[in-house]
């Protein structure tokens, strides 16, 4: 309640001032509201349970007030109680996010909660995504300073959010970036653009471990470079972390390293990317005991593709914080319209490949050593964790008819990534057709198949969606696990949905069974856990 009155006063003062003087800036209040509520049913086959509450709900609302160079904001969050598939540690309600901010052309201050990212995030990234139950916002102070054209400095002190609490560690960080073309007038028109950056982050946690003498201050630093010439871009970042024994690395004292390199280029209707990543012992958290998604200070981006079709994304890959070596490449090519191959409206072809292996660890003679293991920089072991090869063709045949055809070959080391099962080899395909029946009325048929000898076997999925722009959509979807070696588990995961949109508002009703994964319905994509029930979602931006 104290927080609310505080915010109310903050909102009041500028309003009263603005009433007195007409030349003052005008205040502006904006925000959003989001709610998802489920009513659950039991299904003993897929193992869903009805919670004692029968119905569960996640919700949040942001309020943001802008007044000239000032901004104030809060986010109320309510988990009464937390939806299945999200961490029950969320249970409860409150205002875990509130901030005051001042910004002019040269400086910016934030007190309270804030998000930030240094470079690619290899040593620091605070961010949130409610759909995947992630929020590691800082609470503390943040300063940004722009002393000269093209020079950007920032620094922060903060503790990190974990559900409705703060972690006990303190994080301190500074970051600087120089855009040479902006800094030096002589380079301002150069076709080559160079950006340099560096950052330093340190965390402090009091050592109360009786068994080990743990470092209380742990530092990490990173340097980055981006070089661009016309439509060619080369970006790289290297990060190093000093000894940081933690639950993730079984309390070893070895340093950590990460290297991320990305190149991209475009020539005419051709585009491509190439990426490589190497990670060794780079989990970095503000509490050495934390696991899972909690209290992570850094972000190690996965260099695998983020697929939108549910069966193609059946076996998604997440970065192994303790070590991995990966490469990725993707090519995009547009066959020009009005050519024999390209057809009347043109055709798009994308080919993607990514592969992740474990790194090589040498433990010989290090059995009782606190370093745990040794590794050569950029070493790669034979242990395959993931590989994905896919081809996608998109073609518009007429003003009414469009089609997307996609094929994928995938290897997924379930044993290594999830700690159960074995290696999964799968082939998957998609045929996505959409036909405009009359203006604003579109019928979509999306079929997917996944074939594998391992894990849960083969799947077939079909979705029919009927949309009436700009307000309505209706869809029926079924995913059938027809190839499960256990005949009782050959389950149909069906979902009926309908939704209504108007300006910034959206309401959606669904009924059915959900398999965990990424689901895209009626124009919105999100990550969902497995569940059975009826649910309602409301979204409003105002």
């Amino acid at each position: 309640m104290k927080i609310i009155s505080f915010i109310a006063v903050i909102l009041c003062v500028p309003l009263m001032l603005s009433a007195q003087k007409d030349e003052r800036p005008v205040g502006r209040l904006t925000g959003n509201f989001n709610l998802e509520a489920w009513y659950y049913f039991k299904d003993s086959v897929i193992g869903t349970e009805v919670p004692p509450e029968k119905t569960l709900m996640n919700s949040y609302a942001n309020f943001r007030y802008d007044y000239g160079q000032f901004t104030a904001g809060i986010r109320y969050e309510g988990y009464l109680n937390t939806l299945q598939g999200f961490d029950r540690a969320n249970d409860g309600a409150g205002i875990p996010y509130r901030y005051l901010n001042y910004k002019n052309d040269q400086v910016e201050f934030t007190v309270g909660n804030f998000y930030d990212q240094f470079g690619n995030g290899l040593i620091l990234r605070a961010w949130e995504d409610k759909n995947i139950d992630y929020d590691n916002a800082f609470e503390g102070v943040q300063v940004k300073f722009n002393p000269a054209n093209g020079v950007y400095l920032k620094g922060l002190y903060g503790k990190q959010r974990t559900y409705f609490e703060l972690g006990e560690g303190i994080v301190r960080g500074i970051d600087g970036e120089i855009n040479l073309n902006e800094l030096f007038d002589t380079l301002s028109v150069s076709k080559s653009r160079i950006v340099l950056g560096g950052s330093f982050v340190s965390k402090f946690q009091k050592d109360e471990n009786i068994q080990y003498n743990l470092p209380e201050n742990v530092a990490a630093f990173a340097g980055r470079l981006s070089f661009q010439h016309g439509l060619f871009l080369l970006k790289g970042e290297y990060a190093h972390k000093i000894n940081d024994p933690s639950a993730d690395n079984n309390l070893i004292f070895k340093d950590g390293d990460a290297l991320l390199v990305n190149a991209s280029w475009s020539i005419g209707s051709f585009g491509g990317i190439l990426g490589a990543k190497w990670v060794d012992n780079m989990s970095f958290r503000s509490d050495y005991r934390a696991v899972d998604k909690n209290l992570q200070i850094n972000y190690l981006p996965s260099i695998t593709q983020n697929h939108a079709y549910s069966l193609i994304a059946m076996y998604p890959y997440a970065t192994q914080l303790t070590g991995e070596a990966g490469v990725q490449g993707e090519l995009f090519y547009r066959l020009k319209r009005k050519t024999p191959l390209g057809g009347k409206y043109g055709t798009l072809i994308s080919v993607g490949y990514s592969r992740i292996n474990d790194i090589e660890r040498k433990t010989e003679g290090l059995a009782n050593d606190t370093l745990g293991y040794e590794t050569d920089f950029l070493s790669v072991s034979d242990q395959l964790l993931y590989d994905d090869f896919n081809v996608k063709i998109e073609r518009k045949f007429s003003r009414k008819f469009k089609a997307i055809l996609m094929g994928q070959y995938l290897s997924y080391n379930k044993k290594y990534i999830e700690g159960k099962g074995g290696m999964v080899y799968a082939k998957a395909g998609v045929l996505d057709l959409s036909y405009k029946i009359k203006p604003r009325h579109t019928l979509k048929l999306e079929q997917q198949i996944l074939v594998t000898e391992q894990d849960r076997g083969d799947w077939y999925s079909a979705m029919i969606e009927y949309t009436v722009s700009p307000h309505w959509f209706f869809s029926v979807m079924n995913q059938y696990n027809y190839g499960n070696s256990d005949k009782n588990m050959r389950v149909n995961y069906y979902t009926l949905s309908m939704g209504y949109n108007k300006s910034g508002n959206r309401i959606q009703l669904n009924f059915g069974k959900q398999r965990e994964g990424v689901v895209c319905v009626g124009g919105v994509c999100r990550q969902v856990p497995s569940a059975y029930g009826a649910y309602l979602t409301l979204t409003s931006t105002f």
């Binding site: 609310i4 205040g27 950007y152 700009p470």
Partner: protein, 160 residues
């Protein structure tokens, strides 16, 4: 207490006016830091669309805008700003992806979703139509085929 808070919110809401684009740093595809409060179009309408390369409906929406873009610009002078929310996992994909698709709309990167948060957007795609003064006059969340026609109608109303 409650009535005070409500009163404050109502007062503030009544003050909705003028530049509706918050001041947030995004990056251009050539790496320059650009403040979103510099988005302008000489008093003509602007469209701001938040999207991501991994989001099918977003790509469909921008494909549709791109198909009509030349006509819209001729008729209304509109400018579209496509803000990609791809994070460092996929942000280096954006430029070649956009070029291969032949989009002629300016694209910016919002790698840590700062602009998305400032615009109170929950899910992508989310599109705003702003008048020549930078005031949001229409918005739409999600995309289904044909939504561009409603946007076009609103655009015409604005240009009258």
């Amino acid at each position: 207490m409650r009535s005070i808070i409500l009163g404050v919110f109502l007062l503030a809401a009544a003050g909705l006016f003028a530049q509706d684009i918050p001041s947030v740093n995004v990056k251009s595809l050539s790496g320059e830091i650009v403040n979103t409060n510099t988005f302008a179009n000489d008093g003509k309408p602007m469209i701001i669309s938040l999207w991501a390369t991994w989001c099918k409906p977003c790509v469909k929406e921008l494909d549709a805008y791109n198909d009509y873009y030349a006509d819209w610009v001729d008729e209304t002078g509109v400018k579209v700003f496509a803000i990609s929310t791809d994070d460092s996992r996929s942000s280096s994909r954006v430029a070649p992806y956009v070029n291969a698709r032949g989009w002629e709309i300016p694209v910016y990167l919002d790698e840590n979703s700062d602009f998305k948060r400032a615009m109170n957007v929950a899910n992508v795609p989310h599109t705003f139509l702003l008048d020549g003064k930078g005031k949001v006059v229409w918005q739409h969340t999600s995309y289904v085929e044909g939504d561009e026609e409603e946007l076009y109608e609103k655009l015409l109303e604005l240009s009258k």
